[in-house]
C-alpha cells in the first residue's frame, strides 16, 4: 500500500509533467544566429564562404552545409552570367524603352526565384529537422547567409525542469495523496 501510493503518485505526476513537457517540447526557441559571409576572393561576384561555421558543428553535417552553400553559389553565378540571353534581354529592354520590365522579369530575378525555392526546400528537408533555418541572403542585401539555430526549449530547460519536477512531484504527490 505504502509503495503503491508513491507509484500512483509518481504516475500521476509523470502524466502531468509528461503533458506539460509535451507542450514544452513542441516549442523551439531561437538560440543564436550564424552568419555566413560573402567570399570576395574573386571580386564582387556573389558567392558565399563555404567555411563551416563551428556553431553548426553539432547541428548539421559538414558536407550537407557545404553542399547547400555551393549550390547557392552556383545559382548566383548563373544569375550573374553574361551570355547571349542576358545580352538579348538588354537589347530588348532598350528597344522597348525598358517598358518590357513591366511585363517580364529579368534573368536575375528568375534565378532568385529558383534560389528562394531551393532554400525553402532545403529548410524543409534538411535544416528544419535539425533545428536550423536558412534565410534567403537577398533579404540581407546578399551580404550574408543567416542561419538561425533553434534550441529545444524543453530539453534545454530540462535540468531546471528536472529540479522543478522533483519539487513538483512532491507537491503533486501531496495533491494526489489529498485527492485520494
Amino acid at each position: 500500500m505504502a509503495t503503491e501510493k508513491p507509484c500512483l503518485l509518481i504516475e500521476f505526476v509523470v502524466s502531468l509533467e509528461g503533458h506539460n513537457l509535451q507542450e514544452l517540447r513542441r516549442s523551439a526557441s531561437l538560440a543564436t544566429k550564424v552568419f555566413v559571409q560573402r567570399d570576395y576572393s574573386d571580386g564582387t561576384i556573389c558567392q558565399f564562404q563555404t567555411k563551416f561555421p563551428p556553431e553548426l558543428d553539432s547541428r548539421i553535417e559538414r558536407q550537407l552545409f557545404e553542399e547547400t552553400v555551393k549550390t547557392l553559389n552556383n545559382f548566383y553565378a548563373e544569375a550573374e552570367k553574361i551570355g547571349g540571353s542576358s545580352y538579348l534581354e538588354g537589347c530588348l529592354a532598350c528597344a522597348t524603352a525598358y517598358f518590357i520590365f513591366l511585363c517580364m522579369e529579368t534573368h536575375y530575378e528568375k534565378v532568385l526565384k529558383k534560389i528562394s525555392r531551393y532554400i525553402q526546400e532545403q529548410n524543409e528537408k534538411i535544416f528544419a529537422p535539425r533545428g536550423l533555418l536558412l534565410t534567403d541572403p537577398v533579404e540581407r542585401g546578399m551580404r550574408v547567409i543567416e542561419i538561425s539555430i533553434y534550441e529545444d526549449r524543453c530539453s534545454s530547460g530540462s535540468a531546471s525542469s528536472g529540479s522543478s519536477s522533483s519539487s513538483g512531484s512532491s507537491s503533486g504527490g501531496g495533491g494526489g495523496a489529498g485527492g485520494r
Binding site: 517540447r25 513542441r26 523551439a28 526557441s29 538560440a31 543564436t32 544566429k33 550564424v34 552568419f35 570576395y40 576572393s41 574573386d42 571580386g43 564582387t44 567555411k51 561555421p53 563551428p54 556553431e55 553548426l56 558543428d57 553539432s58 547541428r59 548539421i60 553574361i82 542576358s86 545580352y87 538588354g90 529592354a93 532598350c94 524603352a97 525598358y98 520590365f101 529579368t106 534573368h107 536575375y108 525553402q120 535544416f127 529537422p129 535539425r130 533545428g131 533555418l133 534567403d136 537577398v138 533579404e139 540581407r140 542585401g141 551580404r143 538561425s148 533553434y150 534550441e151 529545444d152 526549449r153 524543453c154 530539453s155 534545454s156 530540462s158 535540468a159 531546471s160 528536472g162 529540479s163
Partner: protein, 714 residues
Amino acid sequence: MPAESGKRFKPSKYVPVSAAAIFLVGATTLFFAFTCPGLSLYVSPAVPIYNAVIFLFVLANFSMATFMDPGIFPRAEEDEDKEDDFRAPLYKTVEIKGIQVRMKWCATCRFYRPPRCSHCSVCDNCVEEFDHHCPWVNNCIGRRNYRYFFLFLLSLTAHIMGVFGFGLLYILYHMEELSGVCTAVTMAVMCVAGLFFIPVAGLTGFHVVLVARGRTTNEQVTGKFRGGVNPFTNGCCNNVSRVLCSSSAPRYLGRPKREQTVVIRPPFLRPEISDGQVAVKIMDNGIQGELKRTKSKGSLEVTESQSADAEPPPPPKPDLSRYTGLRTHLSLATTEDSLLSKDNPPTPTMYKYRPGYSSSSTSAAIPHSSSAKLSRGDSLKEPASIAESSRHPSYRSEPSLEPESFRSPTFGKSFHFDPLSSGSRSSSLKSAQGTGFEMGQLQSIRSEGTTSTSYKSLANQTRNGSLSYDSLLTPSDSPDFESVQAGPEPDPPLGYTSPFLSARLAQQREAERHPRLVPAGPPPREPSPVRYDNLSRHIVASLQEREKLLRQSPPIPGREEESGLGDSGIQSTPGSGHAPRTSSSSDDSKRSPLGKTPLGRPAAPRFGKPEGLRGRGLGSPEPAPTAPYLGRSMSYSSQKTPSGVPETEEVALQPLLAPKDEVQLKTAYSKSNGQPKTLGSASPGPGQPTLSSPTRGGVKKVSGVGGTTYEISV
C-alpha cells in the same frame, strides 16, 4: 530600409534635376516643332525619326537613372552585429584576387561595407558599387542603374550632337531668313545644345574611360587605385560587357516578404559525433575539461594552455545524468574551440574592437572572441563552461541550459555569474559580456575620457570612435566599478578583448577592493571582487574560513604547498613558488583566470602558470594587462600583489576543499598563487587534499579527487 526619419522635403535638391529635365524636354520639343519640319522637307524625313528615336532613348535612360534603385543595402538587423560595439575595428580587410581591400564599418547601416560599396550622405544609404550621387538625376548611381546612367550620357551626347548638327544644317538652308521665327528658335536651341555639349561630352568621355578600366567614379576620384592594381577589373572587353550586357541586378529594398512556412519543431536531428570528436566535459570535482577542447583548439590555444605539457589523465566520468544538456554543451564547447581556432588568424585585433549594439540584449551570434581566450586558462572546463554559458544566453529568453549543480563547480560560473544574476541564468555570459560589458564599458569610457595608456599606440580606431584599448585599460572610479559589477558583469567576450578588459577590470577591482574589505592581519589581502551575498553558501563559508586562516596562521611552506596543491593541484611549493610567483604575477594578469577569486587577496587569486605557458596561453600581445576577463580577480590580484603573499593563501585554501563547489574556487586560488595550474584543476575532494611530492623546476604530481593525478609544471 533607409532611414526616413531624417528626410525632409528639400526643394533645393530638386533644382538640378528639374533644370535638366526642362532643358532637355523643352529644347528638344522646340527642335521638333520648329526645325524638324523644315529638315524633313529639305533633307529627309528620316531625320526627325532618327532624332525622335534618340530622344526617346535619352528619356528612357534618364527616367531609369532617376527612378531606379541604385542598389541600396537594407540596414543590417541588430542580431547581425554580434560583437560589442566599441571593440570592433573600423576596418576589416579582405583579400580580393590577391589584393588587400579594406571594408569600412558603416555606422548607419551597421555592417561592414562590401567592397565597392559606399555610403551616400545625400541619400543616407549604402549603395552597392557606388559610383557617385548625380544631382542631375537626383539619385545615386550604383550597381543597378549605372548602365542606364551610362547609356543616358551616351545617348544625351548623341542627342545634343544631333540637335546641334541638324539645327546648323537648318540654319545653313535658311541663311537668308535668319530673323525668321523658326530660324531664331533653331539658333536658340543650338546655343543651348552647344552650351551643354561640352560638359556632357566631357562626362561621357570620362565614364567611357571608367567603364573600360572597370572603375567607379568614387574609386577614380578618391584615387584608390592610383598606383596599384584594380582588383575589380576583368579586362576592357569584359568590363564593357559587364556594364552593358549583364542582367539587371535585383533590388534589395522593397522585396515581397516571403512568409516563413517551415515549421521548426523539436526533437532535432543531430549529426553523429565520432569518437574522436566527443569532448568529455566534466564540470564536477576532479573532472577534467574537455579533451576535445584541447585537441581542437588551434595552435594558439593548445600551445598556450599550460596543461598542454602537463595534461592530467581524465578524471572519472561525472554523473552525466545531472547534465541533461551536456551534449549541447559539449558540442557548443567544441564548436567554440574550432571557432576560436579558425577565427584566430584573420584579424585578432579586430575582434577585440567589435562594437555591438549598446542596447542589444539579444545579440544572436556568438561572440567568438568571448570564448576564445577564456580557454587559455588553466582548466579547460572553465572556458568550456563559460563558453557555453556565453553561447547559450545569446538570447535572453533562452533559459540556461545548464543545471544549477553544473554551474556551481565551475569556478568562473560560481564567482562570475552568481553575483550577476540573482538566480537568473539568462543573464548569461553574453548578456553579461555584451550588454553589461558594453554598458559598463561605455560608462567607464565616458568617465575615463581618453586616458592614454601604453596601449594607445596599439589601439585601432574602433567603430564607435573611441580608442578601445584606453578605455579598457584605464581603471574606472569606484562608482563605475560598482555599477559595472552590480549590473550584468561587464566581462568582455572572452578572447582577444579580454586581456585589455580584464586589465582594466583588474585595476577597477583593485580600486574597489581597498574600500571594500578590511584587511586583517598579515599579509594584507584585498577583498574579493566577488559579492558575498550572491555566492553560494558553501563558497561563502569557504571564503570566510579562508580569510580566517589567512589572518591567523602564518604560512607554512609544507602546508602551503600542500594546501596549494591540494586546492587545485597546481600550486608549487612556496619556496619555488616565490620566484615564479613574482615573475608570474605579471603573467597572472595575462592568464585567463577561470573565475573570480573568492577571497580578495591581491596575490592569491591569481591563476598561476609557468611563465612560458602563461604567455602562450594568453596569446595576447601585451604581457601585463591582458588577463582575460574571467581572470578579473586574477589579474586584479596579480597586478596588485607582491610575491610573498600567496603562502597564506595556500594555507587557507586547504580547509576550503571540503565542498565540491569550491573546486573551482580553489583552482582560482591556486592559480592566484601564481602557480601553474593543470587542466581541469579539480581540487582534491573534501578532506583529501593529497599532495604528491613537489618537484622544483620540474613537473609536480598532485593527486586530486578520485585519485586523479595532476602534473604541474613549475
